[in-house]
């Protein structure tokens, strides 16, 4: 039998013991590299090629013993887990990158913005009216009142702390009941030019801070009078809380 055939036979015998087939090629490459290195080293120090091959092959050891040892090192469950983890990691990285670049609801910039807001938010003052709900805590504090031509823009500072970052600030704004010392304040809106409606009553909101669990908004009421106080409630789902903001009387 030629030395080359002997090597191929030895190698096949070793690989026959390795149950995790996807590793067999790599093992064969590794073994061949060892064998070739040894064989070439022997040739370099003066061995005849055939003798060098025979000695190098003998030095590789007993094929069955090496095969069993390699099988123990290349456990099939570990091998498959490695394959799965590789596919999973590559797949998820590709999908995540594609989603962030193409069509995500939150872009990287928005996610970083949220994270920044989360850590830079201004906590509500200790005097703020507070409502503890099943899913978070709401705070209300009186904001600035500005007057122009007898029309008042009244700011209400509203904070929300949620327990779950997936929740977002509660989407309850259109359903809030808002009353002041003169009665209910209906939900209205400015026309397209930003001009107030005839009754000069409307309310709108803008975001100041939008973190993952910490949010701050300003609720703007547009009124034809200066309110002494405003109460905000949400009459759904058994929510019986009332948030109240009070302003000091004008001097």
């Amino acid at each position: 039998m030629s030395e080359q055939r002997s090597w191929a036979f030895w190698c096949a015998r070793v690989l026959g013991h390795v149950r995790f087939k996807p590793d067999r090629k790599a093992i064969e490459r590794e073994l061949t590299a060892h064998y070739e290195d040894h064989r070439l080293d022997l040739e370099r120090v003066g061995y005849e090629p055939d003798l060098a091959a025979e000695r190098a092959l003998r030095a590789m050891g007993d094929a069955d013993e090496v095969g069993r040892a390699l099988d123990r090192a290349h456990k099939p469950w570990l091998g498959w887990l490695w394959e799965v983890s590789r596919v999973l990691a590559v797949g998820l990285l590709v999908v995540t990158a594609a989603t962030l670049l193409e069509n995500s609801l939150f872009t990287i910039r928005e996610m970083l913005g949220r994270t920044e807001d989360q850590f830079t938010w201004e906590a509500p003052p200790s005097t703020a009216s507070c409502a503890v709900t099943a899913y978070g805590t709401l705070y209300l504090s009186p904001g600035d009142i500005t007057e122009e031509d007898g029309r008042y823009e009244v700011a209400l500072d509203l904070w929300g702390k949620t327990a779950d970052p997936r929740t977002d600030f509660p989407w309850i704004m259109p359903y809030l009941n808002i009353v002041d010392d003169r009665g209910p304040i209906p939900l209205g809106q400015a026309d397209e030019d930003g001009v107030w409606l005839d009754n000069y009553m409307s309310r709108g909101w803008s975001s100041v801070c939008w973190g993952w669990t910490r949010h701050q908004m300003v609720l703007s009421l547009r009124l034809d009078h200066r309110p002494q106080w405003v109460e905000v409630s949400y009459p759904y789902g058994g929510n019986d809380w009332v948030l109240r903001a009070e302003w000091e009387a004008e001097p």
Binding site: L88, V95, T96, L100, M111, P170, G237, G238
Partner: protein, 241 residues
């Protein structure tokens, strides 16, 4: 002279064991999955997850689904099948919250053209050819009818029970006059022609109006038990989603 065999060293970084590489890959996967989940807006994939998300967003702690419709869909742009709309009517005390999720592959988000609706006491909406009405009173009704008043005529629809407190009223019969056709014709506003490279599209817009709906509940012998005065929008009646 024999050629000297020198294997050039190639630096491939520290050689990690297979176990270490598995741990590294799984850690990377978990990180990527977390970023993906956040980037997609924390999508809920189950009915319970969707209801829980809406309960938190609308501060309705005891929100329970009273009707769930899973509606498989396919967009022309979909490469793979599997898109599904999940239309849910849920109740918290006396209040109803109705919403629809659009789930496709790893994304699951509220359907953009159907905002969640929070209604006190009773709920009425049209969706893809069916009028839905929900009220706790329907649990004791043997049959229910809904009379929808359009500009020119009133359509009375027979209800079929969908769940304990939800009745559905199919209003598209496929041929002949029906509520859809009546609304489609009666509330047309402006015709338009869009010309673009490669073709022309003609169409019309409709007046968006709330139509009165009178839902009447009957017992087994046909005696009226209760009447609910509700509304439904023309855009929902003519909508496909």
């Amino acid at each position: 002279m024999k050629k000297l065999h020198i294997r050039r060293p190639v630096w491939r970084g520290p050689r990690l064991s297979r176990k270490t590489r598995i741990v590294r890959n799984l850690t990377l996967s978990a990180l990527a999955a977390a970023v993906l989940y956040a980037a997609l807006g924390f999508p809920p994939y189950t009915v319970n997850g969707m209801v829980d998300r809406m309960a938190r967003r609308y501060l309705l702690p005891d929100l329970e689904p009273v009707y769930v419709l899973k509606d498989p869909r396919h967009y022309n742009s979909d490469i793979l099948p599997g898109r599904r709309f999940t239309y849910i009517i849920a109740r918290s005390g006396e209040d109803y919250l109705a919403f629809q999720y659009n789930t496709y592959l790893w994304s699951s988000e509220l359907f953009f053209s159907r905002d969640p609706v929070l209604a006190e006491g009773a709920y009425c909406a049209a969706r893809a050819g069916t009028l839905y009405a929900a009220s706790p009173a329907m649990a004791s009704a043997a049959s229910v009818t809904a009379a929808v008043e359009t500009k020119y005529e009133t359509f009375t629809l027979e209800g079929e029970r969908l769940s304990e407190e939800v009745f559905g009223f199919p209003y598209r019969n496929g041929s002949g006059p029906d509520l859809y056709t009546a609304v489609d014709f009666a509330y047309r506003k402006d015709s338009y022609v869009h010309t673009y490279e490669g073709g022309t599209v003609t169409g019309y817009t409709r007046v968006d109006a709330d139509l009165p709906v009178t839902v009447t509940l009957y017992d087994e012998v046909g005696k009226a038990l209760d009447t609910l005065r509700l509304t439904v929008s023309t855009s929902e009646i003519t909508g496909w989603y």
